[in-house]
């Protein structure tokens, strides 16, 4: 087992390294560069060349990549090439350190993602277990239909519907979320929960249904345990483990999936930071965000795998 875990860890690090290469290559082939974007359409070729030199963008791509990667290992993401430009002590044009640029958006996104999970997990258990236990009942069908239709609505449409209802028609909540305050979080969290609850609750429902049909539940019922006790003692504990995997994957999805919801609500998280950085070709910032998102995704998957190992002993020996 430790060997399996070690291999997964090595795989995770390798994935991150490949991601860093891909991100770097992708941003390299993006048309335009920060110098061009900053100087705009009235730029003279000399002006662009000068700024590019001052920003160190004229150095070959591999040199910049190696420099950047060696910094990343020390958790130093370098400096922005378009935000807060100023001449430093040596006269070199430098931007704001990427670390300080991404800190607040990361924290805000973590809050949004965290609060979403806080509601998503219990709600999914509640809905999933109920639907599983009363499988085929009207309650089950109603829940299936409503959660599925919520999933079928694209995130931004659901967000707009919520804004229209609760910020404009009946103005009780802010339409856009300038800060991570409780009132400002309601609609973005509702949107995220709305689009993901169908998936997670169905995972739990499937687990519950499977367990309800298992031999030990039949035995428990046969020995005369009341249904309530069967579900509390035998079904729910056994349904938790496999569904934890679903939630771990959901964390990975949230890391990237926040982007749209954040844009719709002008929420100051990684989505907004990322869009701004791409539009100005702020390479170091784009790379830092992408790596962080990838890291969250990789770690979440790793955790999901480990949870799966823990939940299903057969996988441990499947090597």
């Amino acid at each position: 087992v430790p060997r399996t875990i070690a291999w997964r860890l090595v795989g995770g690090v390798l994935t991150l390294w490949v991601v860093s290469l891909l991100v770097f290559a992708a941003t390299e082939v993006l048309p335009g560069d920060p110098a061009q974007v900053i100087l705009g359409k009235d730029a003279t070729p000399q002006g662009v060349a000068t700024l590019r030199r001052e920003l160190g963008l004229d150095r070959p791509a591999y040199t910049r990549y190696v420099d950047w990667l060696s910094g990343v290992v020390r958790l130093d993401f370098g400096n922005s090439v378009s935000v807060g430009l100023h001449a430093d002590a040596t006269g070199q044009l430098t931007g704001t350190p990427v670390r300080s640029l991404i800190a607040a958006p990361l924290r805000n996104s973590a809050i949004l993602g965290g609060v979403t999970l806080l509601f998503l997990v219990p709600l999914s258990f509640l809905l999933g277990t109920a639907a599983g236990v009363w499988q085929g009942s009207r309650l089950d069908t109603a829940m299936q239909v409503s959660t599925l239709s919520l999933t079928a609505i694209p995130q931004f449409v659901l967000a707009f519907i919520l804004v229209l209802l609760f910020a404009i028609a009946w103005p009780v909540l802010p339409a856009v979320s300038f800060h991570a305050s409780p009132a400002a979080l309601v609609l973005p969290v509702a949107t995220l929960v709305g689009v993901s609850v169908a998936y997670t609750s169905r995972m739990i429902r499937a687990g519950v249904v499977q367990i309800l049909n298992s031999d030990y539940v039949r035995v428990a019922r046969l020995k005369g345990l009341p249904e309530r006790a069967v579900i509390q003692r035998h079904v729910i504990p056994n349904a938790i483990a496999p569904s934890l995997q679903a939630f771990a994957l959901m964390v990975g999805w949230l890391a990237g999936g926040l982007v749209i919801v954040e844009a719709v609500f002008a929420y100051p998280g990684i989505g907004q930071g990322m869009v701004a950085a791409v539009s100005t070709r702020d390479l170091p910032v784009v790379q830092a965000y992408t790596l962080v998102i990838a890291a969250v995704y990789v770690v979440a998957n790793l955790v999901a795998d480990l949870l799966a190992l823990a939940a299903n002993p057969r996988l441990r020996t499947a090597q």
Binding site: V37, G47, V83, L85, A175, F178, V264, A266, Q272, T280
Partner: protein
Amino acid sequence: MRRSTTGNDAPARDEARRQGISRQELLKRAGVAGLVLAAPGTAGVGRASAALLKGSAKAGGTLRVGLNGGTSTSRDPQFPPGGNLDIARAVNLYERLLDYDGRAHVVPKLATSVVPRNKTATQWVIKLRKGVLWHDGSHFTPEDVIYSLKRIATAQGTEGAAGLAMIDPNGLTKLDASSVLVKLKFPYSDLAGQLALRPMPMVKAGTTDFTTPNGTGPFKFDTAVQGQLERYVANKNYWVTGRPYVDAVELHVIEDSTARLNALIGNQIDAMNITDASQIPAVKSNGALFLQASPSDGFNALCMNTQVKPYNDVRVRQAIRLIADRPQLIKTAMQGYGIVLNDMFFKYDPSYPSSIPQRHQDLEQAKFLLKKAGRPTLDVTLDTADALTGMLAGDIVLSQQAKSAGLNLKIVRHDPATYWTTVLGKRPFVHDAFSHAPFLNMCLQALLPSGPVNKVDTSWNDPKTTKLVAEAARTVNPKKRTAIIHEIDQIQWNRGGYLIWGGLTWFDAYRTNVKGVVPNAMRTLGDFRFQNLWLA
């Protein structure tokens, strides 16, 4: 077009109201402007006094503005702006020697006058406004002006350095406590127009660190949250009495246009710029909001390379210009907003020749010209991008109009992000766009063989134009200069390579409690001049 800024003295009135000056000073200034800045239109400021005294503006409150373009490249106001946020910060915290008002006319700001010292326009004296204080409490001095101009002129490769190319950085001298002598490297009669441009802010002598901005502007820097919010507070020492009205301004960065409108409707902001013209009906139908459409001095221009076939034939150029149904283009491509233009630059410029007749669509004449040019049916390609409101839409409408004259106009669409830098100059028929620039400067850029804009637009190489531009640059007398400019314009109208059919329009939305909003030909959100707005 619903509102017009020309032939209407509202902007002059508003400019005066905005400056917040006494009747006496107003009349004095009107004289100064007429005399010194040689801008015929500015004399009209004198008419404003009556409206000015009626003022019922209320002080106080926080004005919350939502805008896109929130990437802040630098807090150095002279640095190329990352977006609207940088421009807004620069004009609210800093000021220039001269400035453009809402009609794109030059008006005095930190300088009260800029006058030539000799007949050849190579030496100029800048008189400074007295009693102006920096935000740190120190006095605005000639040393600050010398430092700032030198800094701008020597910042290699920047727009500012290009704009002050005529200034000799070592020829700046303090004459007395309130005047500076400027020596030029070559004659330039419109120094005033250059000094009023965006990248010409005055900063305190010796400033190299702009983290905490120290300007003379109506607002002082308060706080900022990177990429989200900047907050400025009223400068109690501002030299214009009674300005600004509001206690503070908050600039909220909301890149998504729908989120911006939602924030406005939800009363989280008071004003916003509209970047998506499809929002206009929603703003107009909402009783809590109003729309401000500002016909601007910027314009769309289709550029034919006059050195390349078939555009080197003047008859082909004339035919293409005659094909455009300009009112129709404005109606369909610009949602009906915008002014019809006449193949010449900057309608709001005081030296614009309104005597030249408006060119109308004439398909028969266009067909006739094409036939005479030996091309009764002609295939041409226009390289364009969906980079500005009405840009691609206008080109498509034009290609429809062209069909009826036997011209097959093929549209090739490029990536908007890189269109300006990679397509312009590589293809013979392209779409360029301009915001306001001083006319003479535009001539140097776009009509001289050496001009960088000319190289990518029309490759205009006309000895007569070159001679006239040089003459205009030497001519200090405003009347004589205007006459020369009219000649340059007439040549463009007759034979030029530009098809200029309509002006760009800025759209902004405000909540109805925001007062003092007037059209502004320069930029969106009234060129960000928040000192003139007040909250009811």
